[in-house]
Amino acid sequence: MKESKTKIKGSKSTKAFNVICYTVVSIAAMVCLLPFIILVSGSFSSEQAIRFEGYGLLPKEFTTAAYELIFKVPQTVIKAYGISIFITAVGTIFGLILIAMTAYVISRKDFKYRNVFSFFFYFTTLFNGGMVCTYIFYIQYLHLKDSLWALILPGMFNVFYLLIMRTFVSAIPTALIESAKIDGAGEFRTFFSVILPLLKSGMATIGMFLALGYWNDWYNAMLYINSEDKYPLQYMLYSLLQKAQALANIAGQASIPVADLPSNSLKMAMAVVATGPIILVYPFVQKYFVKGITIGSVKG
């Protein structure tokens, strides 16, 4: 009698909760999806239609002019994709191992100086040398000018990701490390064969963030890359867009002939071109966010 009562109560509240869940998540999804649809349709609208009628859910005066501008020289775009994929892959793989390893060490409760090192890393998020000195140092002493390493190395070790990763590592029971030690495993073996397999969701998260960071980074390319054949995709697109904006900005002050570019639809098309591939990768990352992934390993 008593038992069935709680059951009914439970299912009732569960049902109500489910309704709320679905509604809230659906609304949130709509709010996030609509602008994206507008963006895609904007990228296929003519510049004049956007100017006079604004944006809508469907393309106005359908045209592919903006994409044609981006893909004017298809080889450059393909090359830029290649560069982006290269730096994203290399940076993410090495960065991920580095971050996971470091996070593991600074979350070890028996490691005496973990707070000191945490602070040593954290401090760099508060202070930095400023653009000028960083630039000079990288160029003159590290010789990173026009080198792809300038796009990979500075972003490889992100302290924010390190500290988030630390919370994932901390969630792993200390007992596991101890039992591994008792089994005679060295620190490296403990880390690679015991800790890493348990870090899947954390690794998926941080790996995705690293990849997104590399994929979206145009700033380092702007500072350090000179030759156009080393432009990553985002910077290639960014420079296209900036050209229109910069010319408009200085037109008031300078005696420079200014030509017009389809800036509105171009902005939208750029976003589509740059986002596309990463959206395709997302589902692969998602499969690691499955509830209870740690179960087997903990038991084993």
Binding site: V73, I136, Q242, I250, P257, S263
Partner: protein, 509 residues
């Protein structure tokens, strides 16, 4: 104990960075000083030694055109023969110039020459030691150019007592006014006049009535611009470009520097703008509109700028008809430093660089090869001597705009007929040493008031822009604007400007 250790780690880290910093020098100060001394002692030698072949490196601000290689090759053949040198052009793209351009001079990279301009903060960079002084080099190695440069141009190139750039030899004028559509007026009872604010209002009313889909005035986030038209119409001049809050009247015997809120008739102007706002001549959200191409794309009817913009917009949009009405009564030359060439502190061959510059700005063949590219391939000439660009995607004209020189510069096909007549008219109106022309050599050195200038520019944008567009109440808005400007130190700048202006006038006599 833990805390002490933490302190120590911090200390060690910091001292390490400092040591590394001194080792690396973070900018090669001493080196440049040495090279500077060297060239100064050699500078007086005069005759140019071309026995050794050199590669000159030039930086320009623009995106590299696809067809640049062929143009370079063609030019270098000429240069090899005439000066035993080649030119390598490096490009700072539009996406990066605002960050990278100042960095160019602090990175210690060796290059010879670069484009500079008022909009690239030429004066401020020169003040901070970014360029090589040209006191001896310019007259010695670019004598023809030096001779052609006017006295005013030389004064503008002088910062802190030294020449720091070679200004353009192309005359430009301080004309400013309305670029407006005439084709949309066809079939209306418009009287064709566009000389006063009343005319503008009449024109706008007609646009409103006949073309409701258009905005009569093209105003966007870059600023309202109409305050400039008003100031120039009143005969006022800005103390310096980039500081729009201080003005003077060049017609006065001893001009007094005035703050913008003290200019006569300002209230009447603001009342008119408020009325225009209410009539809907422009958007109530114009200051957030980033679209600056509304006139060029047929969305707006009147754009404010100069005759060169009028020429460009007419050439680019033959489907519309434009006219230009200048609102500046007192025509004078614009500063020649608007476009200029600077020699880098790190230049290894400043003599050859200047010799090259002398050649480009005096020899039509080299000028064409440098500026327009290859005849028949990148540009074509018609029988009137006007040039047209064959394929804008491949090559337009050089981004080294400072090379443009009166007499060498060609007119582009599609230039409106009244362009050259207006220019000639401007030139004929100018009387040396009178009105605005008297002050073209005046350069306001803001070093002493840099902090105040930074703040005042901010206040101007924050409080005055909305006032100009009639978004805020005139009386309380003006009062607040004045109060904020005073707190920001406008009076200190005013004093400094007055002192420098008086000095300038005294120096003329």
């Amino acid at each position: 104990m833990k805390k002490n250790f933490l302190k120590k780690v911090l200390g060690v880290a910091l001292s390490m960075t400092l040591v590394a910093g001194t080792l690396t020098g973070c900018g090669s100060g001493q080196e440049t000083k040495e090279t500077q001394e060297k060239t100064e002692t050699e500078g007086g030698a005069g005759a140019l030694d071309t026995s050794e072949e050199v590669e000159l490196v030039m930086y320009v601000v623009s995106d590299r055109p696809a067809g640049q290689d062929a143009v370079d090759e063609n030019l270098n053949k000429l240069l090899k023969e005439k000066l035993n040198c080649t030119l390598k052009i490096n490009w700072i793209g539009w996406a990066e110039y605002s960050n990278k351009y100042p960095l160019l001079y602090s990175s210690g990279e060796a290059f010879d020459m670069a484009y500079s301009a008022t909009w690239l903060n030429f004066a401020s960079l020169a003040n901070k030691g970014a360029f090589k002084s040209l006191d001896e080099l310019w007259p010695a190695y670019a004598p023809k150019n030096f001779e052609k440069a006017t006295d005013a141009a030389k004064m503008q190139a002088t910062i802190d007592g030294h020449y720091y750039c070679v200004p353009t030899l192309l005359s430009t004028y301080n004309n400013y006014g309305l670029i407006y559509r005439t084709d949309i007026m066809e079939g209306t009872d418009w009287d064709g006049k566009m000389e006063t604010f009343e005319d503008v209002e009449k024109y706008c009313d007609i646009v409103k009535a006949t073309h409701p889909e258009m905005e009569p005035l093209d105003i966007s986030a870059s600023g309202p611009e109409w305050q400039n038209v008003f100031m120039f119409d009143q005969g006022m001049s800005y103390v310096t470009k980039g500081l729009n809050s201080l003005l003077y009247d060049p017609a006065e015997e001893k001009p007094q520097v005035k703050a913008v809120y003290d200019v006569e008739g300002l209230k009447g102007f603001l009342e008119m703008m408020t009325r225009w706002n209410e009539k809907g001549y422009f958007s109530k959200s114009a200051l957030s509109d980033t679209d600056s191409g509304k006139t060029a794309n047929g969305k707006a009817a009147i754009k404010i700028h100069n005759i060169d913009s009028y020429r460009d917009i007419s050439a680019q949009h033959p489907e519309y008809k434009f006219a230009f009405s200048n609102f500046v009564k007192d025509i004078a030359h614009l500063p020649y430093t608007q476009d200029c060439m600077v020699i880098s502190n790190t230049s290894k061959n400043p003599e050859r660089a200047l010799a090259f510059w002398d050649l480009v700005t005096s020899d039509q063949e080299v000028y064409n090869a440098f500026f327009y590219g290859i005849e028949g391939t990148s540009y074509e000439l018609n029988d009137k001597g006007q040039f047209s660009i064959t394929d804008p995607d491949l090559y337009t004209t050089s981004a080294m705009w400072a090379a443009r020189t009166d007499g060498l510069n060609l007119e582009q096909v599609g230039t409106p007929d009244d362009y050259q007549t207006s220019i000639d008219q401007y030139e004929s109106q100018i009387v040396d040493g009178k009105g605005n022309e008297k002050y073209t050599g005046f350069v306001f050195d803001t070093t002493a008031v840099e902090t105040e200038v930074a703040t005042c520019n901010n206040i101007y944008q924050q409080y005055f822009y909305p006032l100009v567009l009639g978004y805020t109440d005139i009386d309380s808005g003006l009062e607040e604007f004045e109060k904020q400007m005073k707190v920001a130190g406008i009076e200190k700048i005013q004093e400094e400007a007055q002192r420098q202006l008086d000095e300038y006038i005294a120096g003329l006599e």
